[in-house]
């Protein structure tokens, strides 16, 4: 057995190291009432994770260590693109940690701070494996590793019934979907006799109805994670019920990983029946975008609202898998990056506002501009980016996403998606309207946000403003992309 293959999964290992350090630190760090576990919340995790992120980039920057490599006889396949995606995810996690700081500082959270970081990082680890899976077992393990701790996170605030209910709904639906997906995978195994992506592809054929069914079941399983219609119904409830920090994590990180995996599997496994897949996604996307938009128009609670916005964004995200072209892959990863900074930006503000005032309704934001102009300005930028307004990054990502889909030949789909952007603009503007225009007799009082939130906001805003304008990001991602 060749131990050097472990070096090929450097990111996973370093992440594991991070987890262990935090775990130990959590064990041996005494909890005091006031500042909880002190350095554990939040400097330590952030620094470690940053270090991990930078280390992870090593294969990309220095040519000495090869990026495209396998481990465990091909069950684990690493690629440059995978590294990029993981980096994006870990950066996102860092921002999420910054978001979580205030929430974890509350007295009743004081002795649970450690678990939060550990659990979150475990889900992240699961996604890492999912992202660079070369075999369905690895993929399945990764998926479950990503979703099981997530339940604990959603149910994190023990006293809150909503949180518990959200967790229940999440875990039940998750089990249901993973059961069906497992069944689908078993059918694939039965018909192809292998679980390796590469070896499976030649065995797949459009005539084999069992495989088509398996395709759908698989898409169901993964669509559950990306929360695509009709597998999305848990999303809104889970987002609303979960603690805000968890919601922001849920809304970006797991979505992104799943979308990338979806692309990889479609490209590696289902290439022969890509047309059928396209047909499925044609309808799935239309429904995801439209239905989510229509639901979002009516929402009162901002977290629930963000849930529906996330669903429709997921629809746009999946536009990239249409035809599984290289341009599509670039579009997906780029879109993921842009969507991440914008969405996390919004959640940063939501969570700090919740911490300071306990308000979560959109109507509570009336007059927010008068009391907290800076925050509402940043919120506006993030929302504009989500809505795809130039010069913010969202515009570029949407534009390139549509371009990819158009090039793949799905003109009608692009048209429908474009028309939907108008609706989405409408509800994003509703928030802006609440903040800027709507009068309010008792607006949320002016408050100062803590350093971590500030740092997070700076990162997000920089991302929102610069990632689009500076074309380096797109070109850099593009050079690693692969596809049909």
């Amino acid at each position: 057995m060749d131990y050097s293959q472990f070096l090929n999964m450097g990111q996973e290992l370093s992440l594991l190291a991070v987890i262990l350090i935090l775990f130990v630190a959590d064990l041996f760090m005494c909890t005091d009432r006031k500042s909880g576990k002190g350095v554990l919340n939040t400097p330590l995790p952030v620094i470690l994770l940053t270090v991990h992120t930078l280390l992870g980039l090593a294969p990309l920057v220095c040519p000495c260590c090869v990026a495209d490599a396998t481990a465990f006889g091909g069950m684990y396949v690493s690629s440059n693109m995978a590294i990029v995606v993981k980096t994006i995810l870990s950066i996102g996690t860092i921002i999420v940690f910054l978001t979580a700081h205030e929430w974890l500082k509350q007295p009743e959270m004081a002795n649970k701070q450690g678990e939060y970081y550990t659990l979150t990082l475990f889900t992240l680890l699961g996604m890492y494996f999912m992202v660079s899976a070369g075999h369905f077992l690895m993929f399945f393990i990764g998926l479950e590793l990503a979703s099981v701790p997530m339940t604990a996170l959603i149910a994190y605030s023990k006293r809150s019934q909503e949180s518990a209910e959200a967790a229940a709904k999440y875990i039940l639906t998750a089990l249901f979907s993973s059961g069906l997906m497992l069944y689908g995978i078993s059918l694939l195994y039965g018909t192809t006799g292998t679980l390796y992506f590469e070896q499976m592809a030649p065995q797949i054929s459009a005539t084999n109805l069992v495989q088509l069914a398996a395709l759908v079941l698989f898409i169901g399983g993964i669509g559950f994670k990306i929360s695509l219609v009709p597998f999305h119904l848990w999303t809104a409830d889970a987002y609303q019920g979960a603690p805000t920090a968890v919601t922001s994590y849920l809304s970006v990180i797991s979505k992104g990983a799943a979308a990338f995996v979806l692309f990889v599997v479609l490209y590696k496994v289902f290439a022969p029946i890509i047309d059928q897949a396209n047909l499925l996604f044609f309808w799935i996307i239309i429904f995801s975008i439209t239905l989510a938009n229509i639901f979002a128009v009516r929402q009162k609670n901002i977290k629930r609202f963000m849930a529906f916005s996330a669903i429709s964004q997921a629809g746009y995200l999946v536009l990239g898998v249409m035809g599984a072209t290289p341009q599509g892959m670039t579009a997906i990863v780029y879109y993921l990056l842009v969507y991440m900074v914008a969405n996390l930006g919004v959640f940063l503000i939501i969570s700090i506002t919740e911490q300071r005032s306990g308000k979560l309704l959109i109507s509570d934001y009336n007059g927010f501009y008068r009391t907290n102009p800076k925050l509402s300005f940043l919120m506006t930028l993030a929302l504009f980016s989500l809505a795809g307004i130039p010069p913010f990054a969202g515009f570029f990502s949407k534009f390139f996403m549509f371009m990819a889909a158009f090039k793949a030949g799905f003109v009608v789909l692009v048209l429908i998606a474009l028309v939907n952007t108008v609706i989405s603009l409408y509800y994003y503007l509703l928030i802006v309207k609440a903040m800027y225009i709507n009068p309010s007799d008792e607006p949320i009082p002016t408050f100062k946000s803590d350093g971590y939130t500030k740092l997070g906001l700076v990162l997000c805003t920089l991302g929102v403003v610069l990632i689009g304008i500076i074309s380096w990001f797109y070109s850099y991602i593009d050079q690693f992309s692969f596809g049909l």
């Binding site: 341009q327 670039t330 102009p373 504009f384 307004i389 130039p390 010069p391 515009f395 534009f399 390139f400 549509f402 371009m403 158009f406 090039k407 003109v411 692009v414 048209l415 474009l418 028309v419 952007t421 108008v422 603009l425 409408y426 503007l429 802006v432 309207k433 800027y436 225009i437 074309s471 797109y474 070109s475 593009d478």
Partner: protein
């Protein structure tokens, strides 16, 4: 990086300056300096452009500069101007300059107002200097979105509704537009977003096949047409203008609506000539309708801003009308009309805003005899009105005459009938203008609240006089600008004609 990019850079620096500025004086200072710089720049550009042309520089676009932006997608940052864009840049600079003075005393938070205002103008300038479809589209949307906050926050009346409607309808338009741009880009081989390269394709046949053109032409034309107040999609304009603060109405009707006409010409007509020849009749009918229809419904409005908004619908209809007539004269006239309508409607909105700011009503039935109370504003209002109904010696006349003469060069009945229809609008214009002027300015002032009102302040006078000067300037000496425009229009129109 040539000096055209300054048109984008200066607004950016202004944004920075505003961000740092403390206190109203500083904000105003930044705005005045910035907008005057822009004005100077535009003037210099015009002069230099004319000099170059006179010097025999016959390049299609001058001051071209380009560097690759999104290399994988063949998107570049490309700038360049021809006569049309120069004219439009000059117009925008003037409007922004005067708009600054008009919104001198605006409240609350003048600073944020000017932030969005500057962002808007940056979009406008960027749009006019760019010759890359992606850039154009980007700047187009940059110019659209600040409108929401400008109207929503600083507007009056049912501002939320109007702002939302305006934004959504324009964004809907740009959705179609985006699809059209993709169509053109990939139809032409996906090799370049550069308008010139697509238009001056090497080899005989147009890269985009006829069927494709017939799909993309309506999309792009409607996409821009929404902003140009094309007939069924114009309803954002009355409400939007009615609710917007003065300077925003100025900028919007004065410049933003011109983006529509400019885009229609630059992208829809220029890049899809065959379809333009084939399908222009549909849009001719629509624009013909909106010319008469706008004027007619202006006759029975009672809100000053609604009157002017509908007359804008009519005049902008005339712009698209002239463009679609596909003769050099009419198209030149259309561009002239953009200029003159931009100036005079800006003047109009400025005056309406000033009067509204004093009387706190825009209902013509509630105002009489203002001429006695605010003579300066009254006289300027009359001048604006006369410009609006195409009085010789003011810009409107030149533009309309060029359009009519040009349109009449199409010798078939269809175009003739439409032309005659369009000419009718000038009579109707007289009706609503005189009605408005007569009701509002003349007569004896009865309202004792109005009796105490004051005439314009210095900055208002300054802005208004600038605009009037420009209007009269174009009206009295049109030939230089008209030939500057036509030099750039003629080759395009010839190309379109040959495409048949």
């Amino acid at each position: 990086m040539n000096f055209l990019s300054l048109f984008v850079l200066i607004p950016l620096l202004m944004l920075l300056g505003l961000w740092l500025a403390k206190g109203v004086k500083a904000v105003r200072g930044v705005m005045v300096v910035g907008s005057s710089l822009l004005l100077v720049l535009a003037t210099y550009l015009t002069i230099d452009f004319l000099a170059q042309r006179a010097g025999g520089n016959t390049a299609e676009m001058l001051y071209q500069a380009s560097f690759t932006w999104f290399e994988p997608l063949n998107i570049s940052y490309r700038v360049g101007v021809d006569g049309i864009s120069v004219a439009m840049l000059l117009l925008s600079a003037v409007i922004v300059f005067t708009g600054t003075f008009v919104s001198w005393k605006l409240s609350p938070n003048l600073k944020d107002y000017f932030l969005w205002f500057t962002l808007l103008s940056m979009g406008v300038f960027g749009f006019f200097i760019s010759i890359d479809m992606f850039m154009m589209f980007m700047f187009y949307e940059i110019a659209l979105i600040p409108m929401y906050l400008l109207i929503g926050v600083w507007g009056t009346g049912q501002k939320e509704y109007s702002a939302m409607k305006l934004t959504l309808m324009l964004m809907g338009g740009s959705a179609f537009l985006m699809l059209g741009i993709f169509g053109i880009f990939y139809g032409a081989g996906g090799q370049t977003m550069n308008i010139l390269d697509i238009a001056n394709h090497t080899g005989g046949a147009h890269p985009i096949d006829f069927a494709g053109q017939c799909i993309w032409f309506p999309l792009t034309f409607v996409g821009f047409g929404v902003l140009g107040a094309l007939f069924p999609f114009h309803t954002w304009s009355p409400d939007g203008h009615a609710s917007a603060p003065t300077a925003v109405s100025m900028l919007h009707a004065g410049v933003l609506m011109k983006l529509g006409g400019y885009g229609c010409f630059r992208i829809a007509i220029f890049l899809l000539p065959e379809a333009a020849n084939e399908l222009n009749w549909i849009f001719l009918i629509l624009t013909g309708i909106s010319v008469v229809y706008g004027a007619m419904s202006a006759c029975v409005q009672t809100d000053l801003k609604y009157i002017n908004a509908y007359s804008s619908v009519s005049h902008c209809g005339l712009v698209l009308f002239g463009i679609l007539m596909l003769t050099t004269t009419s198209t030149t006239g259309a561009v002239l009309q953009m200029l003159s309508h931009g100036l005079m409607t800006a003047l109009f909105f400025a005056l309406i805003g000033m009067i509204y700011g004093r009387t706190h009503t825009r209902d013509v039935r509630l105002m009489t005899g203002l001429m006695q109370i605010m003579p300066f504003l009254g006289v300027c209002f009359v001048i604006a009105g006369l410009a609006n109904l195409g009085l010789p010696g003011l810009s409107g006349f030149v533009a309309e005459m060029s359009i009519f003469v040009g349109s009449f060069q199409n010798a078939d009945t269809f175009h003739r009938v439409l032309t005659v229809m369009a000419t009718c609008s000038i009579v109707v214009a007289a009706v609503y203008i005189l009605r408005m002027v007569g009701k509002m300015l003349y007569g004896v002032c009865t309202d004792e609240h109005h009796l105490k009102l004051t005439d314009a302040t210095w900055e208002e006078r300054f802005a208004v006089i600038c605009l009037i000067a420009c209007i009269a300037g174009i009206g009295l000496f049109p030939s230089w600008i008209s030939s500057m425009i036509s030099d750039s229009v003629a080759p395009i129109i010839d190309a379109v004609k040959q495409a048949i």
